[in-house]
Amino acid sequence: MKKSKILMIVGSLLLLSLFIFPLWNISLEAPQYPIPLGMDIWVNKIADTHEGDLKNINLLNHYVGMKAIPEHMKEFDIFPYVIVIMSLMGIGFGFIGNKKLYLTWFIIMAVLGIMGMYDFYLWEYDYGHTLNPKAAIKIAGMAYQPPLFGTKQIANFTAISLPLTGAYLMFTGMFITLAAFFVARKEDKKAANQAGK
């Protein structure tokens, strides 16, 4: 089998690691929390970083009137299918072995990724801005939206938002499929040259 085909198949398969590893993490650091509170975001759920973290984040957030972290979101119904379909599609394209399909797959994936991040941003915006008017603690002009990426000070907490293993493996997979495209192009040129001789 051609090297490019193997790369395309392996790259697409790496997407499935999202079912084994979490995608993203938001952690909250404060002096009283020597072990930071954290939520791990998966394609199909939001989970504790350490046991009880979601409960404790919700507990603290209720003082400023934030909603509880949802146990279920419509995205959790959609994302797993998208991942499985994209992975199968990538594997299929790999077997077909057409470099244009490789590039197409990469572009679709990139667009979906950007849409996913935008969707994540919208949720964060709503989570940080929709506050219960009866909240015990109100700080004028304060919003509690966590950062999309990187670090942000929110009241007494430092919120840190960073990708986790699942995301890194997905990015690696995408990089490999892009590499598959360039390798395939090289292979095609070589084949054309040989044919030309």
Binding site: G52, N56, L59, Y63, A136, I137
Partner: protein, 650 residues
């Protein structure tokens, strides 16, 4: 004259300059770096745990070494209103005895469980001296897990020490008493009173204790005991005093014999006799109290019989080792060869050799017997004598370099000496009148010879005065060098009677952070606010309440009447480390509750007056702690106010 004046002036300047110099340089503790040796920077952890009994406080306190900082007082034998120990319905059964509920005891000798002769950090045991009991404390939760009453015993003092694999925790009686107890003249003591040595087996899985057997010994006083280890594993040694069997003015009448005994008990032999059915089953009545970590509640069961062995009928079970002058400590070195008897009225320390003891037994070289128990010949069994070490030896522990350290009560000092050569290497004063001492692991095969804690009986001027009653005091010595170095004085709770210590890493990682709500099997647990309710059963009203930052649910309760008995069953719904909530109810003739995350506790409140009575959270839990409160409406007897409960009007 003028010349003289100039000379004097110059001299004065010189003196002032020298004094100034002195002030500028480091002196005392700073000069020798002692302060740095006990300084644990903010946020850093100590290297060792020290569990120091509170003596007459009845409790066990947890300190860090080398800082001497107090971390926790674990309530064991005395009620503790702060923690609702002995006040809430869950812990009351722990303090039940054959004499009923007893709110106090005298807690003496803690000992950490062992495996293969080394500290294993599973449990710590401690004896209740006054109403004889043994407690087992979990070193995961640092809470009392079990208390077993000891029948046929009085003044449970030669207790409680564990064998090499925690096969047994052993409890000997100080007072001999009529066994079974009966109405008889005190003057008939001699020959009629008996002393019971109890061997309590410990279940290796859950630590549950049960009395395997008792040995009914002659009517002496049994003072302290220690297990054989390594080569002497299978034996247990008990010091005796009052072998005169006096029953009055013991300070004189029990100090007449030139030698008393160390009783050497072969407990492997006892097991054989038990197996062979050589025991009698005696009727008895003693409480066995067990606390369940999942039910968060204790139960008390009365046990009705005990197996006893008579040493006169069981040859080879017990031998007496003559030891000078009312020995207190009998301490076994890490190799198990040497048994150090501290004759507390003697001028020398006697050390017996286990090898020689076995040889003397084999050769049957006895010096008569006492009540059928063979007495070995002193000269045949002595390994050596530490001559003129000090006055009033009490207790010896060991380091990992072949040295022994003995406290001397009367001369108020700790003395370091060498095993085998018996020479005194160093001595340091104690302030004042030291009793027991502790080296972490010093009563095991593997001592950690870094620090020594001396526990003193008298404090006097060591701290800022606080009226006639002063705190008692412990002192920390560095024993890592050739000479001991006094590092620190630190105050203690109650009387720091005896201690056990271990490296921090043995316990630190296992210390429980909170109780899982899912695992809470308390019959009155409420696991969500939706399940809260108030149920009337005649005059008993059960309030199923929850607490979470920063409210109770329900927080308004109506329909309670004067004459009711209200049971507040409160569950802390938190699942985070170090977020307890408290509960205080106005007019409750009871303590507060202090409830750990995931735990359920019950407070009984019997309202006496009509009115609307508030309750509140007593542990500063959150920014809105002061808002964590509620009301209970109490109506007149026979009133028809319906039973109602709510949170935020719902």
């Amino acid at each position: 004259m003028k010349k003289n004046f100039t000379f004097l002036l110059a001299l004065s300047f010189l003196v002032i300059a020298m004094t100034g110099c002195n002030k500028g340089s480091k002196s005392g503790a700073l000069k020798s770096g002692v302060a740095e040796k006990v300084y644990v920077a903010p946020g850093e952890h100590d290297k060792f745990y020290a569990f120091i009994s509170g003596g007459f406080s009845g409790q066990l306190a947890v300190y860090g070494l080398p800082s001497g900082r107090l971390f926790k007082v674990i309530p064991v034998f005395s009620v503790d209103a702060e923690k609702a120990y002995g006040f809430n319905e869950e812990t009351k059964p722990l303090l039940n005895t054959s004499h009923g509920f007893i709110p106090w005891d005298d807690a003496h000798h803690p000992d950490i469980s062992q495996t293969n002769g080394e500290l294993d950090g599973r449990w710590i045991f401690i004896n209740g001296n006054n109403t004889p009991r043994i407690a087992r404390i979990s070193l995961k939760t640092f809470e009392t897990a079990e208390i077993l009453e000891i029948p046929n015993s009085a003044g449970n003092h030669s207790s409680c020490f564990v064998t090499e694999n925690t096969e047994y925790v052993v409890a000997g009686t100080r007072f001999s008493v009529p066994i079974p107890q009966r109405d008889m003249p005190i003057k008939d003591y001699k020959g009629n009173f008996k002393g019971a040595l109890s061997f309590i087996s410990v279940d290796p899985k859950d630590g549950n204790m049960s009395i395997a057997f008792q040995i009914l010994m002659p009517g002496f006083n049994y003072d302290l005991s220690h297990p054989g280890r390594n080569k002497s594993h299978g034996w247990f040694f008990f010091t005796t005093y009052n072998t005169e069997e006096a029953n009055s003015l013991l300070e004189v009448n029990a100090s007449q014999n030139d030698k008393d005994y160390i009783a050497a008990v072969n407990w492997k032999k006892a097991e054989e006799y038990i197996k062979a059915g050589k025991f009698k089953t005696m009727p008895a009545n003693f409480a066995h109290n067990v606390y369940s970590e999942t039910n968060h509640s204790a139960t008390s069961t009365m046990e009705k019989e005990v197996k006893v062995l008579d040493p006169a009928e069981c040859p080879g079970l017990v031998y007496f080792l003559p030891t000078p002058k009312s020995p207190h400590g009998c301490d076994v070195d890490p190799s198990g060869e040497y048994i150090v008897g501290s004759g507390k009225l003697a001028a020398a320390l006697t050390v017996h050799s286990f090898t020689k003891i076995l040889k003397a037994i084999e050769d049957k070289k006895f010096d008569g017997n006492a009540y059928g128990i063979p007495i070995l010949k002193y000269d045949d069994i002595v390994a050596g004598v530490v001559e003129q070490p000090g006055l009033g030896p009490l207790h010896t522990e060991f380091d990992d370099k072949g040295n022994a350290y003995t406290t001397f009560f009367i001369s108020s000092e700790v003395v370091k000496w060498k095993l085998g050569t018996w020479e005194v290497l160093d001595r340091k004063p104690c302030f004042y009148s030291v009793g027991h001492l502790m080296i972490p692991g010093g009563n095991s095969r593997k001592p950690f010879g870094k620090y020594l804690v001396a526990m003193n009986k008298i404090t006097k001027d060591r701290y800022l005065p606080t009226g006639p009653e002063m705190c008692q005091s412990a002192q920390l010595y560095d024993i890592s060098g050739d000479k001991m170095e006094l590092l620190l004085d630190f105050p203690t709770i109650g009387e720091p009677h005896y201690a056990a210590g271990c490296p921090a890493e043995l316990l630190e990682a296992n210390s429980q952070k909170f109780y899982k709500l899912d695992e809470n099997k308390h019959p009155y647990a409420t696991k969500s606010e939706a399940d809260t309710k108030v149920v009337r059963e005649g005059n008993n009203v059960h309030v199923y309440m929850t607490m979470i930052r920063s409210h109770f649910s329900p927080d308004n309760i109506e329909g309670i009447k004067v004459g009711d008995k209200v049971f507040f069953h409160i569950t802390n719904l938190e699942q985070d480390f170090d977020v307890p909530h408290g509960f205080g109810m106005i007019g409750a003739q009871n303590s507060e509750l202090l409830i750990m995350p995931g735990q359920t506790e019950t407070l009984v409140y019997e309202p006496k007056q009509v009115g609307v009575w508030p309750f509140y959270c007593t542990d500063f839990c959150s920014a809105l702690h002061q808002e964590m409160q509620g009301y209970m409406r109490v109506s007149a007897p026979g009133s028809n106010v319906p039973l109602k409960w709510s949170l935020d009007g719902e």
